[in-house]
Symmetry: C2
Subunit: 280 residues, 2 copies
């Protein structure tokens, strides 16, 4: 094992871990260097199991041995720092935490991701990393095959997304559309019924729409941005519009994480996913 004690938070070997709460800085730095951060023992182990290649690990002295098995299996250095150095470096109290910087992999092609898929979730321009991570977790847990992202959708490998997804961003296949405007047509041509989730008028209750699906239908569930929902373009190119029925006139829709979970649950209940979900 390559264990290196570092005391200076400005040491260039620690540059991957700089100011983890500074979203703009991190977006730039991670894109430029093709890296992402995994946080917490469980998530780091899942990144390792999923075959991601580590650049380095960062632990505080008190927990220096917490990832020995993972570290020993790689060539990547383990940097051990004091709690004070960690806090000055990353911008918060690492305390019982663990961090690892991983190399990104090239995204698979759309064809690869759609191959054999029965149910996919398609995210338009979501901005909130927590929502993206939680939706991956729901989709993976409920047997959906893949996630497709619009060009501007928030990054599933951003630290917060990874954490909230509990690492399911590593195992659930996903890729990004090159073309927002024509992207849905590509999915339609691949045989997907595109259900746009929207509280707007003229949409069918979710369960009714599911009941109308052919038994061998391939379904794409379209979810829009947190504020305004799906764009007019995507609504227009969808096969159908569906909504989750609401009881309260003051609440016209659920938050996108909640809506995605309900819709994935309904996909599972109607047998429209590949995964076997017993008891729905």
């Amino acid at each position: 094992m390559n264990v290196i004690r570092v005391s200076d938070p400005a040491d260039p070997r620690l540059a991957d871990y700089t100011r983890l709460r500074d979203v703009n800085l991190r977006r730039h730095l991670e894109a430029e260097h093709g890296l992402f951060m995994a946080e917490g023992d469980k998530v780091i182990r899942r990144a390792a199991t999923a075959g991601y290649v580590p650049r380095s690990f960062l632990l505080t002295e008190r927990r220096a041995e917490a990832l020995d098995d993972v570290v020993a299996a790689t060539e990547a250095p383990l940097y051990v720092v004091s709690e004070e150095t960690a806090e000055r470096l990353v911008g918060f109290d690492l305390h019982r935490g663990a961090l690892a910087a991983y190399h990104r992999k090239p995204l698979p092609s759309l064809d690869e991701v759609l191959e054999g898929a029965r149910a996919i979730v398609v995210l338009e321009d979501l901005v909130d990393h927590t929502n993206v991570g939680a939706i991956f977790r729901s989709a993976a847990g409920l047997g959906v095959d893949a996630v497709i992202l619009a060009p501007r959708c928030a990054d599933p490998l951003y630290r917060r997304s990874v954490k909230v997804s509990m690492g399911s961003v590593f195992t659930l296949p996903y890729t990004r559309l090159d073309d927002w405007y024509g992207g849905l047509d590509t999915l339609s041509e691949a045989g997907f019924d595109l259900m746009a989730l929207t509280p707007g008028e003229g949409s069918l209750p979710l369960a009714e729409a599911m009941g109308r699906l052919a038994p061998d239908a391939k379904v794409g569930l379209l979810l829009g941005t947190e504020g305004d929902g799906l764009s007019a373009r995507w609504l227009e190119r969808a096969t159908s519009r569906v909504h989750i029925p609401m009881a309260d006139r003051d609440v016209d829709s659920l938050n996108v994480t909640a809506a995605a979970a309900v819709a994935c649950y309904e996909l599972a209940r109607f047998g429209a996913v590949s995964g076997r979900v017993h008891g729905v």
Copy 2:
């Protein structure tokens, strides 16, 4: 209307709006002064409609007239500040935003909240304000009657909860248990079947558990903290344990917001809520 232009961010009249991103400071300040913050035109209008009494409003010069109708209906002052003053005061770019400080109301008694309720959501020690807000929105939207909070559950009137709930924290009745240890027994004695949502062994699939409910059952859905779920004590005092079936062995549960939405949706689908939800 009482419109006051203020240029000094340290002006004591603006003290309610200090450092809105400093969670520890805000918790202390809001508890001490019995206030809460509403953010955004829509949420402020909902607080007004729900009968909350404002302490003051804060707008930037460019949007000084955005809430004229709301402000005109009260005695509370409207403070108008430059964007720079706003940013130095609240700690972020207010830009197109609007803020209002409201007086809290005393929480209703448990008896008042349970009176006539058929379905309630009971939150143990959730720590994340976003989750609390999103769960209120799902519960209100899907026809649940009320939310009951354990003594240490995060505050529904914290700015972030209010915002994510889209103001449903103002309309959905809620209160807080005084006693964590014995709290569930009080709910059982009030006639509620307490369903603990947990991925643990020995729990029933959600839909199977719902199918076993008596037609006139009163249901309390128990949700636990983000990391560890429900406490052993609450699991032990629940009437039954239920889980959302999962397809993926790597994902044993959904995030609590997602799980709450699915469970409330199932309550609505099985007709166990008071609200009328057509088409589930």
